[in-house]
Symmetry: C2
Subunit: 235 residues, 2 copies
DNA sequence: ACCTGAACACCGTTCAAGT
DNA sequence: ACCTGAACACCGTTCAAGT
């Protein structure tokens, strides 16, 4: 009897939150129906009463994450509203690092994502954007609108960990890599930008994210001011 | 004897190209060591003489794909050189639609990717960029520098396929989705932009990709002309 | 020494047997 | 009617047996 009372009765919501917690703590590769069931103190097949299959479980997890993003503050202009919301999305994704890949690997937009995108479009239209420009802007922002960093370049920092020990901080690039790719090494060495006290710390992710975000937002603002339409390319 | 002569002897190269072909044709989810071995007319364990494990196989496949990207043409200015190369990368990825997710899911940059990034940095530095600006530009371009479309928004087009039959073209959004997300429907309806003959065709992926690419390149060009440094934010 | 079949430790999911 | 253990059809990879 103690075993059956140990936890609240199973529900879709409890399953989804347990799955998110498992992915957060152990990584998405540890998320199996069997592991999840064990975490919940339940037999694996019990999960299938609440989620149809693993894909639907992942969709539900994505909706949980997207639901954590702050709603748009309606008191500011479109640019600040959008900027704040994207940065909020980024903070959410930092708590759930598995989410970007999970979202990209699903081939269907979930209701929560559609709702998020819809209200973002609303921000643009309320800011006076034509439907035409709003459309292209949504494409141009791409997954960055959900806070994705999509740091391909970040991978170069991890490029050296082939050998055994991993001593010290990831300062610049390993010597062998730096020798083969000298120009990568050159800009990596510039990574300790205006923060003087931080040397060989690697990149400031928040700075890089805002740099790219503002580059896009400023360009979008310029097109908007110029009354851009499809017949004229940006520039 | 006929069986043993049926194919060329196994090699790492032959394995990698067979794996790329399998992923291209049947999808990355069909790529298993067992399926790949069968395609090659070989016992599964034979593969392990040439690749250490499946992760190394994926790394090798990524290098094959990245190797198909045109080298930079050295005769133009940085902007056109970069633009052409990114568009070349995009064409390559369109032939290998599994590659973006595969690249993002690997946590280590492969030699071919590092080489690609290194020569791209070289283009920027040769164009007179400071190492500082070149560094942030690489981050801002992100995976788009490898031709990634990262069309999150594209997913909304596929949002309606829950029911059974799938009749006709994906014209705008399904009625139920359009009703719940009216502003998404509004900009989706604007998708048939200046091409008058195409109605309800969905988005022009190439147009959207170049729109975003040029938005970034134009913004980058502006910063470069202004002699941007870390102490001043873009804008 | 080389190759390879069987085996191991997992998966997601089906299905029939048990209550 | 509901729940669930065993089973099925897969994985990637180890390992020992066979040549």
């Amino acid at each position: 009897m103690a075993e059956t009372l140990r936890r609240a009765p199973l529900s879709r919501d409890r399953i989804l939150h347990a799955a998110v917690a498992l992915a957060d703590e152990a990584g998405i590769e540890s998320l199996s129906m069997r592991n999840l069931a064990q975490d919940l103190g339940v037999v694996p097949m019990a999960l299938y009463k609440h989620v149809a299959n693993k894909d639907e479980l992942l969709d539900g997890m994505i909706d949980v994450v997207v639901g954590e993003i702050d709603p748009p503050a309606a008191d500011a202009d479109w640019k600040h509203t959008l900027r704040r919301r994207v940065l909020s999305a980024r903070q959410v994704l930092r708590r759930h690092p598995w989410a970007p890949l999970a979202i990209e690997s699903r081939n269907m937009a979930t209701p929560a994502i559609l709702s998020y995108l819809d209200s973002t479009v609303g921000t643009l239209l309320a800011g006076g954007f034509s439907t035409d420009l709003a459309h292209h802007v949504m494409h141009a922002m791409g997954s960055r609108i959900l806070g994705f960093s999509q740091e391909l370049f970040d991978a170069s920092r991890r490029a050296g960990r082939s050998g055994g020990t991993d001593p010290g901080p990831p300062a610049a690039l390993p010597a062998e890599v730096a020798a083969r790719f000298p120009r990568l090494a050159e800009i990596a060495a510039a990574a300790s930008h205006d923060d003087e006290s931080v040397v060989g710390q690697g990149c400031d992710d928040q700075f890089e994210f805002e740099f790219a975000l503002d580059l896009l937002l400023d360009g979008i603002e310029r097109l908007h001011r110029q009354g851009w339409t499809s017949s004229r390319r940006p520039g």
